[in-house]
């Protein structure tokens, strides 16, 4: 699991690569939270290179989203691989987390 970040068009884009499972979900959450600044108004989690996510990883995403929601920052995920999209759909999180098909779409929708 690897986390990198950059700021584009008013949004913070955090890209995650590899697998997020029970063993590294907390590390993943900490890594993402550590790159988020207090004044980031929009955070996009880019999952293009995320190959697997377990329910523990989904929980980490909920916690990240909750943290942002508390200070009314926007949050979305983008570029989900088919299998990851299927996981989101089954668990029903496609209804509670905003999903964009590409990073460009996400930035266009959220950036200022």
């Amino acid at each position: 699991m690897d986390v990198t970040s950059q700021r584009t068009g008013g949004a913070l884009i955090v890209s995650v690569e590899g697998r997020v499972d029970g063993a590294n979900a907390r590390k993943f959450q900490k890594a993402v939270e550590s790159v988020i600044d207090d004044d980031d108004g929009a955070v996009i989690l880019d999952m293009e290179n995320l190959s697997y996510i377990s329910s523990a990883g989904l929980r980490s995403i909920l916690l990240i989203a909750k943290g942002l929601q508390k200070r009314t920052a926007q949050f979305a995920v983008c570029s989900l691989q088919d299998a990851i999209g299927e996981v989101f759909r089954i668990v029903g999180f496609d209804k509670i987390v905003t999903i964009h098909s590409s990073q460009g779409d996400a930035v266009a929708a959220m950036g200022s």
């Binding site: 029970g22 909920l62 089954i90 029903g92 999180f93 209804k95």
Partner: protein, 386 residues
């Protein structure tokens, strides 16, 4: 206040005692060291047994009655955590080597250089403290491990081990936990008017918080299910109860179904759980449609949709958790829903519920081979006979 380190000095030379006390007086006054003395190995052993709080032994080798090398062998029998330093003649490598082999931590040579001795004492004490700390961590770890094992057994013991005995249908479930306590459970509830409630669930994450969440989820589900017959309403109610004060964002995916043995009606609602597998009596296999519910515990006041099918005699429904479909082999590929399809495609109308569940476990295990199990594996099978 921290007590001084207690050092037992063993030497048949009577002059060493006043000299040691004099040269170490600053450290004694500062409350860092305290000294006790013995004139030979036997006396030293007596002191060790009597005092019980000696941290370190500083011993000469050549002494009457019991020499230092014999003493070294005896010290661990009194307390394996005591560290020993040997005082030897300069260049006496043979005895020094023997002493080290017998567990001495270090040595100093005669005539004793007290500055060097003090450094050696500090190094020995530092090592001893690290050792003790490591031991206490190990003990804590062992006790946590034991508690986790107990928790895991408790979890196993709440799963149904007896299954309804009815000529009209069979139901059989099994759960195989991964190493940590955690996640999955299934339940079978006898409801009003001869209906039965079937639940299978998977809590996000592992460990003690997840296990506690799972226990409360199971209890709530059981309590709510007995009072309500609509699966969607049951999930809605349990969701609200779980959501209260759920700062941890733990969630649980649940598939809850009510089966009516008289009519064959099977009504289910999914809270973010994988769809059940339906095997018709002609051996055709399909996934039942999702009901679009969100995993429980995350968002309050949800309406859970439900879906109803009718089982004909010879039909089978298999409920499972993602421990089945996401089981990995050594190449890193997953069992997938396809694996389940393959198990049951062309199954006989006389497939038994137990046989169905056992087959899933057998095939998943076969698929995994030497790969380790990361997630709980759970499967619950319902079969309509007549």
């Amino acid at each position: 206040m921290v007590r001084p380190y207690k050092i037992l000095v063993v030497d048949d030379e009577p002059d060493l005692e006043p000299l040691m006390l004099q040269r170490m007086r600053r450290h004694i006054r500062a409350g860092r060291y305290s000294f006790v003395f013995a004139r030979n190995g036997l006396e030293a052993l007596d002191r060790l047994n009597e005092d019980g709080d000696i941290d370190m032994v500083l011993s000469d080798i050549n002494m009457p009655q019991m020499d230092g090398l014999t003493l070294l062998e005896q010290i661990p029998k009194v307390d394996p955590n005591i560290r020993s330093v040997i005082i030897s003649a300069y260049g006496d490598m043979k005895n020094i080597r023997t002493a080290m082999n017998r567990g001495a931590f270090d040595f100093v040579t005669k005539p004793v250089d007290f500055k060097d001795l003090q450094i050696t004492i500090e190094r020995t004490l530092a090592h001893m403290m690290e050792w003790r700390e490591a031991l206490s961590y190990r003990d804590k770890l062992v006790s946590i491990q034991n508690e986790l094992e107990v928790a895991s057994r408790i979890q196993q013991s709440i799963l149904p081990s007896e299954f309804p005995d009815d000529l009209r249908y069979q139901v059989y479930g099994n759960m195989e936990p991964a190493r940590d306590v955690g996640g999955d459970f299934f339940d079978i509830m006898l409801l009003d008017e001869g209906q039965i409630g079937l639940a299978i669930a998977d809590v996000s994450d592992k460990g003690v918080p997840a296990a506690l969440f799972m226990m409360s989820c199971r209890t709530l589900l059981k309590g709510v299910a007995i009072g309500l017959t609509e699966p969607g309403a049951v999930l809605g109610e349990v969701n609200d109860l779980l959501h209260e004060d759920n700062e941890t964002m733990l969630f649980v995916t649940v598939l809850y179904a009510v089966y009516n043995p008289s009519t064959g009606e099977f009504t289910y609602a999914s809270g973010g759980h994988d769809p059940p597998l339906l095997i018709r009596s002609d051996g055709s296999v399909s996934l039942l449609p999702l009901t679009d519910g969100i995993a429980l515990g995350v968002v309050p006041e949800l309406n859970y949709k439900q879906h109803k099918i009718t089982l004909s005699p010879g039909d089978t429904v298999v409920l499972y958790t993602d421990g089945v479909t996401e089981a990995q082999n050594t190449d890193g590929s997953a069992f997938e829903v396809d694996g389940l399809h393959q198990i049951f495609a062309g199954s006989s109308a006389y497939l038994k519920a137990r046989e169905g569940t056992d087959l899933v476990f057998e095939k998943v295990r076969e698929f995994m081979g030497e790969a380790s199990q990361f997630d709980d594996i759970t499967c619950l099978t319902l079969h309509r006979d007549t």
